[in-house]
């Protein structure tokens, strides 16, 4: 699998799965204005992935995440309000789409013509992972956003429900539907 060379990224803490206590610590730091860089490097990949559910370009997703993170940081929110960070990303992304609908249409057309311009949302290690990522792209938006929040952002169903303004049951069922759809897509015929 071709590995990409990200210049200067060695400064950033590598993405890793956090234990619940670690996450809590990270988010408490996030809310207490201490070392925002380490906090952000922990949450940024998941947040960017979440933002990219609405925008094609990685640069646009970064703009959205930046705005949401600064808002969250400035308002000094705590771990209990973590869903607010995702709700902010979602809301800013939707505003961005409304604001920039013409550009988005143009981009969508261009993207339809040449797929190679889309920056990948994941770092693949093999073809199985690539196929899995492609399958995720095909999922309905409401299932995909729940999946992204649950798997790569490690939100609870209660937090997902809070961020999306839906019930916990709906969040859980969307998650299950997403997993079932992926399983069906990846099953050998």
């Amino acid at each position: 699998m071709k590995k990409k060379n990200f210049g200067g990224l060695d400064k950033i803490i590598p993405w890793r799965r956090l234990e619940y206590k670690d996450r809590e610590k990270v988010m408490q730091n996030l809310a207490s204005h201490e070392d925002w860089k380490s906090c952000f490097s922990e949450v940024a990949p998941g947040l960017l992935l979440f933002a990219r559910q609405w925008v094609q370009s990685a640069a646009d997703a970064e703009d959205i995440v930046q705005e949401a993170f600064i808002k969250f940081w400035r308002r000094n929110h705590k771990i209990q309000n973590r869903a607010l960070l995702y709700a902010a990303v979602r809301s800013i992304a939707l505003d961005f789409i409304r604001r920039d609908s013409r550009r988005a249409r143009r981009e969508a057309t261009a993207v339809g013509e040449t797929n190679e311009f889309i920056e990948p949302q994941f770092e693949f290690e093999d073809d199985t992972q690539r196929a899995l990522a492609e399958a995720i792209d095909v999922l309905p938006c409401e299932q995909r956003e729940v999946l992204v929040m649950k798997i790569w952002n490690e939100l609870t169903f209660a937090e997902i429900a809070g961020a999306l303004g839906i019930s916990q049951n709906t969040a859980a069922s969307r998650y299950r539907y997403a997993l079932a759809a992926l399983r069906n897509m990846l099953q050998p015929q």
Partner: protein, 179 residues
């Protein structure tokens, strides 16, 4: 269900793409800006003071507008009275009136306003240069005067006076002679 947990595990192995290092720099800059903005905001109660002065200013402006409106109404009423009363001298009979009419005529006289003065204050003169009038070969100097004119009337009987002021602008063309 077992199948679902398998796919879940596969998904967990996927790593989301990492953000660009520029994003960190941009956020850092934005944080610095915010902090600078916040420290400005913390300066001694400037905003409430501004609001207070704005409030006073608006209240004063409202009072002035009300005062001007009331004044205008009064002037209009007076103007109507003058308009009603002014024809009186013209219709005044030359011959002595009969007994019954004399009282009415006297009361009309008591409401009569007579011109008491007029002033014209030129507060700005602008020389707009030489010009040629249409069909004329002689140059003209064009001067623009901005003035404030005031007319005053006085009722000799009651001592009441009325004053009307208005701004005006006058353009004067002066022929320039070459000799």
């Amino acid at each position: 269900m077992n199948d679902l947990s398998e796919i879940e595990n596969e998904l967990r192995k996927l790593r989301p793409a990492r953000p660009s290092p520029i994003l960190f720099e941009r956020i850092e800059e934005a944080m610095m800006d915010r902090r600078a903005g916040a420290s400005h905001a913390r300066q001694p109660a400037r905003l409430p003071y501004n609001r207070l002065s704005l409030g006073f200013g608006l209240a004063a402006a409202a009072v002035l507008v009300l005062f001007a409106a009331v004044n205008m109404e009064r002037r209009q009423e007076r103007g109507e009275k003058i308009a009603q009363n002014s024809p009186a001298p013209e219709t005044r009979p030359v011959l002595p009136a009969p007994r019954g009419e004399s009282e009415i005529t006297r009361s009309t006289f008591s409401n009569e306003f007579v011109p008491a003065g007029a002033t014209r204050l030129v507060y700005n003169t602008r020389d707009e240069g030489l010009q040629f009038a249409r069909g004329s070969g002689q140059p003209l100097r064009r001067l623009r005067y901005q003035t404030h004119e005031t007319w005053q009337w006085r009722n000799p009987t009651t001592g009441a006076s009325l004053r009307v002021s208005y701004p005006s602008e006058e353009v004067v063309l002066i022929p320039v002679s070459g000799q």
